[in-house]
């Protein structure tokens, strides 16, 4: 019995949206940890650390996210780990987000003039204190708008987790399509829900960019 795309399906889609948001949240936290590490490594005075940071960024930015998701989900089993869809998707997205956030934050750190570091040093602050009290507060203004912009990218990329059976918005859309045979209405609704989440963030990112640009 084929049923029609009805209000109840819309509720299911909205309910699935929370898993999209949860996955985005986990990936953003993971990506923040990896990204901060990579940004600092690429900013370091030590050659090998810089090299490793650059290598990581090049490799991750040069491979499709889909390869990471599949490699972690199907590939890791040979090392004796059984990986569920949640873990695989969260890890793949964290690895991926780490490379891009690392790049964004390195740029933000580089945007602060060297003299600011020197001013911090002449006040007797150590490296970490210079970073904490002088550089990061200023770098945040440069780094926040693109970070919010990347968050939009990350939300959209969680749709790829549907490929390994992680039930989020896109996957729920596929399930609904299978039940109703109305892909046009279902996927337009799915797209609409993504838009409702992403568009305000895009606008916010733009507004941040404008305010920070004026005050700089």
């Amino acid at each position: 019995m084929i049923r029609h795309f009805a209000w109840i399906d819309l509720f299911y889609l909205v309910a699935a949206l929370r898993w999209t948001l949860a996955l985005t949240g986990v990936a953003f936290v993971g990506g923040t940890c990896v990204g901060a590490l990579i940004a600092l490594m690429r900013f370091s005075y030590l050659g090998p650390l810089r090299f490793l940071g650059n290598l990581y960024t090049q490799v991750v930015q040069g491979t499709p996210l889909l390869v990471w998701i599949f490699a972690l989900y199907f590939g890791l089993a040979i090392f004796g780990f059984s990986v569920d869809a949640w873990t695989a998707a969260a890890c793949a997205l964290s690895i991926y987000a780490g490379a891009f956030l690392g790049e964004i934050w390195r740029g933000a750190l580089l945007a602060i003039p060297r003299t600011q570091w020197e001013a911090g040093a002449s006040l007797g602050l150590g490296f970490l204190h210079q970073l904490r009290y002088v550089i990061v507060p200023q770098a945040l203004r440069v780094g926040t708008p693109p970070t919010v912009g990347f968050l939009v990218q990350l939300i959209k990329d969680t749709s790829l987790a549907s490929t390994i059976g992680f039930v989020e918005l896109t996957r729920e859309g596929q399930t609904t399509t299978a039940a109703t045979f109305q892909p046009f209405s279902v996927y337009l609704t799915v797209a609409g829900l993504y838009f409702l989440i992403c568009f305000p963030l895009t606008q916010w990112s733009r507004r941040l960019e404008r305010t920070f640009h004026v005050t700089r």
Binding site: F74, L160, P183, Y187
Partner: protein, 243 residues
């Protein structure tokens, strides 16, 4: 050392490693996967074709979109903005499903490669619109006036004052967009267009060498992306740095 002693040493070694039962041992076998090299090669060709067609169409759409946005009448401008925002705030995968599965429901049945190319063009078009628009907007009006004041003709002003500096500004953004597109094309495998990633999943299902397949394909994508990046850097230096 004679042959007999060597053999007994080897046997002792084998016996000792056979005792370590807990150790999970896995023999990497890239040969099974590499045996599919003709399929992989045609997958690479399809991926590159998709990226080239998507980019070429996308830049055309981008030029149209930016023109509509900058010089069009109000309804046209609103339409261009709506298009850009709608595409940039929804996932490529969902766009692909709308074009491939959705349009079939309302009577427009496309085959998978056509649906894939249309989706990629529409997707890249939105990003290209922003890039092209930013490029043209970055030329201040006073530059045009300065060009006219120097006695350049309208065409000369467009060619030397607007087009070349704008292209120089757009090129890096468009180049990185192309690299992103090249990697994003892997999504079309989900509607069974036989690109590189689709080939990988076929090989996976035939050899069960999951890790090897995705590692290898990852390396191939990486090679393509790095080749693009250095190629574009070379073109940029050749084309723009002398000016």
């Amino acid at each position: 050392m004679n042959g007999g002693r060597l053999r007994s040493l080897l046997m002792a070694f084998q016996r000792s490693s056979a005792l370590g039962i807990e150790r999970v041992s896995y023999q990497f076998e890239f040969r099974d996967v590499l045996a599919y090299w003709p399929d992989l090669l045609s997958g690479v060709a399809v991926t590159i074709m998709l990226a080239l067609l998507g980019m070429a169409g996308g830049v055309l759409v981008g030029i149209l979109g930016a023109t509509a946005h900058l010089y069009g009448a109000r309804p046209l401008r609103i339409f261009a903005t709506a298009y850009v925002e709608a595409i940039r705030n929804t996932p490529l995968l969902v766009q692909l499903f709308i074009v491939f599965f959705g349009l079939a429901q309302i009577g427009l049945r496309l085959n998978a490669p056509v649906a894939a190319i249309i989706t990629l063009i529409v997707n890249v078009g939105a990003y290209a619109t922003e890039i092209v628009r930013a490029g043209f907007q970055a030329i201040p009006r006073t530059q045009l006036e300065a060009g006219h004041a120097l006695g350049l003709s309208g065409y000369q002003v467009f060619r030397h004052v607007v087009l070349v500096p704008a292209l120089k500004m757009m090129f890096p953004a468009l180049a990185s967009q192309f690299t992103l597109l090249l990697l994003a094309t892997s999504v079309v495998s989900l509607i069974s267009v036989n690109d590189l990633f689709y080939t990988a999943s076929i090989i996976q299902s035939q050899t069960f060498r999951d890790f090897e397949v995705y590692a290898l394909v990852g390396v191939v994508y990486l090679g393509l992306a790095l080749a693009c990046r250095s190629g574009f850097a070379l073109i940029y230096r050749r084309a723009f740095s002398r000016r």
